[in-house]
């Protein structure tokens, strides 16, 4: 594996990143709009809707609880979705990847650079709900500075997940299966809107395998105080998730892009 990673050349990664950055400059307004407005809607709806019924959840003010929980939602929405759809569109419809692979860039570098870029974006947009929650009364803390990095790691993993899925799909309609059967349950059973300890045992166990759950826990701990023992495990899980989906995306994209 070491030798393979050595093959990641900086100029190749840069080339792919520059393409993404220049493209992003043409649509950052809409992305930023949705990244900020979405969590605001969640906070308002759940915060004032549910918040009227429950003032405290798991020892937190409900607004603080979902303000930190939806960081993971924002990370998921700005990584897994753009990755799945973007990858599919870029190899199937726009044939962008054909153009990039004709340049001195290998699939491994292409996938890595795309995942890095999506990770960076997810890390940045992941902070939006937290910032919105601060407007609604979430107290600032030093640990919040770690949140973009947590978002980056998880975003990198979801980017790999999205690319791996896109590499196996023959039609864009098939994404519905993944969204309904995988992403929606993961998104709901992550401790974002309600604690998972109220769920049946099997669901609690299943949640342990949910990267979003680990991200939610890490973000809450970063904001309200770390729990070193547990957090090392949460972090290790996210890193492992990222490495796994990254390698899987490379293998499957290679199969898809190179005959």
């Amino acid at each position: 594996m070491n030798q393979r990673i050595g093959r990641l050349e900086r100029p190749a990664l840069m080339g792919v990143l520059v393409r993404e950055i220049i493209n992003f400059s043409s649509f950052w307004r809409s992305s930023t709009f949705s990244a900020t407005v979405e969590p605001t809607v969640y906070l308002l709806a759940f915060g004032f809707g549910f918040g009227a019924l429950v003032s405290e959840v798991g020892g937190f003010d409900y607004i603080d609880y979902i303000g930190t929980g939806t960081v993971a939602t924002a990370v998921l929405f700005s990584s897994a979705f753009p990755s799945m759809f973007g990858t599919f569109v870029k190899y199937k419809f726009q044939r962008t990847y054909d153009a990039i692979l004709a340049a001195p860039v290998d699939t491994e570098e292409l996938v890595t650079a795309e995942a890095l870029w999506i990770g960076i974006r997810a890390g940045t947009y992941g902070c939006a709900p937290m910032l919105v929650a601060m407007v609604f009364g979430l107290d600032p803390s030093w640990g919040m500075l770690v949140v973009p990095f947590l978002g980056f790691i998880a975003g990198f993993g979801w980017a790999g997940f999205g690319m791996a899925v896109a590499a196996r799909m023959n039609s864009i309609d098939n994404f519905s299966y993944v969204i309904s059967a995988v992403l929606t349950p993961l998104f709901l059973v992550a401790g974002t809107f309600f604690p998972i300890d109220g769920l049946p045992d099997w669901a609690q166990v299943a949640a342990q395998a949910n990267p979003l759950y680990h991200l939610v826990e890490l973000v809450r701990h970063a904001v309200f105080g770390f729990e070193p023992g547990a957090d090392v495990i949460h972090l290790a899980f996210l890193v492992a998730f990222g490495l796994l989906t990254w390698r899987l995306a490379i293998t499957w994209m290679q199969k898809r892009l190179v005959d």
Partner: protein
């Protein structure tokens, strides 16, 4: 020296053999045409040259690099112009070139000059800030070609460079390609436009069912396979069939040319009809067959 050498290259997709023991050479500084009907294996061959398809057998060497192992080094010195437009349509002309200046690793000091040069080649200097989706089809194709030339490649791979374009635009692109060749760039061009190959290529390889069925300078291929002159005979189907039969009995090759039959390689006597010089199209149809697969 050869800019590109293929020896015994085979590429299979399941039961289908898309490229079947293909040999091909592009001597440095020349333009070689890969001519063949749709499905002859031209595009697969092109994809193998950028390691986007890996051959099952045979060897490929480009600019001294062995593929697929050293493909990245080869790709750095090749310019690729794909058949299907894959420009970033929401970006401007200049931004598209800038992205490729990075992808082809042009260092910062030379980046601006390289982009200006490419804009000049594409004759798009005054359109630099126009978004690609606002360009005409011809401009897009020029940009697509210029994008592949931004790093001044030693070998250019053109996959059907003028497919689907107006005759005027096609002329314009031919001038561009001819200029490239006169500057010493090696070119491999796949096409199914015969006139294009005839005008631009020093040598032509005709492909059919994944095999090279003939190879040589266009004029030489014509005389070799179709002789100097052809007679085109018009008439009702029965007459055409009769001409075909009698010519073949006389040892002459014929081919259908729409509403007429062309009798090829006539020296002196032949059936009554319009005499015309033979051309590459005659060779093409003779060698690749009249039926469309």
């Amino acid at each position: 020296m050869s800019a590109l050498t293929l020896r015994g290259v085979v590429k299979r997709f399941g039961a289908l053999t898309a490229v079947d023991h293909l040999d091909l050479d592009v001597p440095e500084g020349t333009c070689v045409g890969l001519l063949g009907p749709n499905g002859a294996g031209k595009s697969t061959t092109m994809r193998m040259l950028t390691a986007q398809a890996i051959p099952d057998e045979g060897s490929i060497e480009i600019l001294g690099f062995k593929l697929p192992k050293e493909s990245k080094a080869a790709r750095a010195q090749c310019g690729v112009v794909p058949q299907l437009d894959n420009l970033d349509i929401t970006l401007t002309v200049e931004q598209n070139l800038l992205v490729f200046a990075y992808l082809y690793r042009i260092d910062r000091a030379h980046r601006k000059a390289a982009i200006e040069r490419a804009l000049e080649i594409a004759n798009l200097s005054d359109r630099r800030d126009t978004k690609v989706d606002k360009l005409s089809g011809g401009m897009r194709r020029r940009l697509l070609i210029a994008r592949g030339l931004v790093h001044q490649p030693r070998l250019v791979l053109l996959d059907e460079p003028t497919v689907g374009l107006d005759p005027q635009v096609r002329q314009e692109l031919w001038a561009l390609i001819d200029r490239l060749r006169s500057e010493g760039t090696s070119i491999l061009m796949s096409t199914h436009y015969i006139e294009e190959a005839e005008r631009l290529c020093d040598t032509v390889t005709i492909m059919s069912h994944g095999k090279a069925v003939a190879s040589g300078p266009p004029r030489q291929l014509v005389t070799e396979h179709a002789g100097a002159e052809a007679i085109e005979v018009y008439g009702p189907p029965a007459k055409l069939a009769e001409v075909e039969r009698s010519s073949r009995e006389a040892g002459l090759k014929t081919r259908r040319t729409g509403t007429s039959v062309s009798v090829l390689g006539v020296n002196g006597d032949g059936p009554d009809g319009e005499r015309r010089p033979t051309n590459l199209e005659d060779v093409f149809v003779l060698l690749t067959g009249e039926e469309i697969a």
